[in-house]
């Protein structure tokens, strides 16, 4: 088995990701179609929530991936800061908009569900609010990438921002719990319980979870490839100018 660090080499990364991309995209599409169709059309309505319960097949996976995307950016930023692998910095940059879109999806589907169920589109609940703040963090991170011309400085500064932001995001999360007890239910999925939700809802949910995970992977691979190509193009143009 080759070392994981081999993928710091852009050429190696491009080759492997070109091989992986159709597979991850295919699995993502398959899982999403199966999970969503199963979830939407072949599960019974909840006896209290009616058919609105089915929004969890979009809401829960996108919310989980929104947080995981930030974690992935954190790990990629750490790798960049410690080992200076450019691919890692570019992967963090590529993941940010994807994570931001997942955050927006989670917020929007939550609002759509909250309107009939809680009778309100928005509530200053800790979970909702911390997602809104996560969204702001994504915005700031992306804005900083855009604002700095030198790619290496941009990578360094955004990495520092990501590290500091993570610490403050966690503090905010607990501060918000202290601030307002909230309306949102507790975690639907956790490992320490025998059964979280009834199996009829559970199986399609697992499939959509996998689907969103692979979708994230495919999008990040694709966007990282684009970033690497853009970087190569820039280098080529610079070479032309020098010659």
């Amino acid at each position: 088995m080759a070392s994981f660090w081999e993928y710091a080499n852009p050429r190696k990364f491009m080759a492997t990701s070109a091989f992986l991309l159709p597979w991850t995209a295919g699995i993502a599409g398959l899982c999403l179609v199966t999970g969503l169709v199963w979830g939407f059309f072949f599960t019974p309505d909840d006896f209290r929530q009616g058919s609105t319960v089915k929004i969890i097949y979009v809401h829960v996976p996108s919310a989980i991936m929104a947080v995981n995307a930030w974690l992935m950016m954190l790990v990629a930023s750490l790798i960049w800061v410690i080992r200076r692998h450019h691919v890692s910095a570019l992967a963090a940059k590529a993941a940010a908009p994807v994570g931001m879109v997942f955050t927006v999806i989670a917020l929007a589907t939550g609002a759509l569900w909250g309107q009939p169920m809680w009778g309100t589109w928005w509530e200053w609940d800790p979970r909702l609010t911390s997602f809104l703040i996560l969204f702001l963090f994504y915005l700031g991170y992306m804005a900083l990438w855009e604002a700095i011309d030198n790619p290496d400085s941009a990578a360094d500064l955004t990495a520092v921002l990501c590290l500091v932001g993570s610490v403050f995001a966690i503090i905010s999360r607990y501060a918000l719990v202290f601030w307002n007890q909230g309306l949102h239910q507790g975690a639907t999925l956790s490992l320490d319980r025998e059964q979280n939700i009834a199996n009829v809802f559970w199986y399609p949910l697992v499939i959509t979870l996998a689907g969103f995970g692979f979708l994230f992977l495919a999008l990040v691979l694709y966007r990282t490839q684009t970033e690497i190509r853009a970087r190569r193009l820039k280098a080529l143009i610079a070479q032309e100018r020098m010659a």
């Binding site: 963090f137 900083l144 604002a147 400085s153 500091v164 501060a175």
Partner: protein
């Protein structure tokens, strides 16, 4: 390092600008609130803790981009970076100077503005205590944000976008301290948490700010 602090303070006082401006902003902000909300004293005293904290926070934000910008433009920052003073120390001193010129005056005038907003009696002590403990965190976080954006032209808006989400925990606990203090509930717990955030920020952020400065000076 003490010399750096003295230099910053002298500059702030003699060059004017930042010193009085953020105070004036704080005053205007608090004056405008009743125009927006209405002059009912009951409502005002309900929202006074949050408004005062928000005003202090925004007043701090206004002067942040000046922390490193001027020194960056005239090259002083490069000179300091080549001097034996560590950049971490520089960042800490800059944050301290910012706090002395904006945070401390804000704390001192806050009771007067509390009076304007009809803050209930027991709240004043908690207001000052939470601001004294909380504004150093605002300055430290702000210095970090300023260090990140020092190389960006017209970085003021970007700076607010980066810094405001980081202000969330401080604002929550600070405003909660005052709100609880004003209504006679237990205000010590959030006050201690404000202090904790400040101490944590002071311990970590000068290092983050210094690493950002190093990148920008490269």
């Amino acid at each position: 390092m003490i010399g750096l602090l003295k230099r910053d303070l002298t500059l702030a006082i003699r060059a004017g600008g930042g010193f009085g401006l953020s105070l004036a902003f704080f005053l205007i902000f608090t004056t405008l609130v009743p125009f927006g909300v209405g002059p009912q004293t009951a409502i005002l005293s309900d929202i006074a803790p949050g408004i005062l904290w928000l005003g202090a926070l925004l007043a701090c934000l206004l002067s942040l981009d000046r922390i490193f910008q001027l020194d960056w433009e005239d090259g002083t920052l490069d000179l300091i970076a080549t001097s034996p003073v560590p950049l971490e120390g520089l960042a800490a001193m800059k944050a301290l100077a910012h706090w002395i010129t904006t945070g401390l005056p804000l704390v001192l005038v806050s009771p007067v503005l509390g009076l304007l907003l009809n803050l209930p009696g027991p709240g004043y002590l908690w207001l000052m205590a939470s601001l004294v403990l909380g504004t150093p965190a605002l300055s430290a976080i702000g210095a970090f944000g300023a260090a990140l954006t020092v190389g960006v032209k017209r970085g003021g808006l970007l700076l607010s976008l980066l810094v405001l989400p980081l202000y969330v925990p401080t604002l929550i606990f600070g405003a909660l301290t005052v709100a609880r203090g004003a209504t006679g509930q237990d205000a010590l717990t959030p006050l201690i948490l404000v202090g904790g955030i400040t101490l944590g920020s002071l311990a970590i952020l000068p290092f983050a700010a210094a690493s950002a400065l190093r990148v920008n000076l490269r």
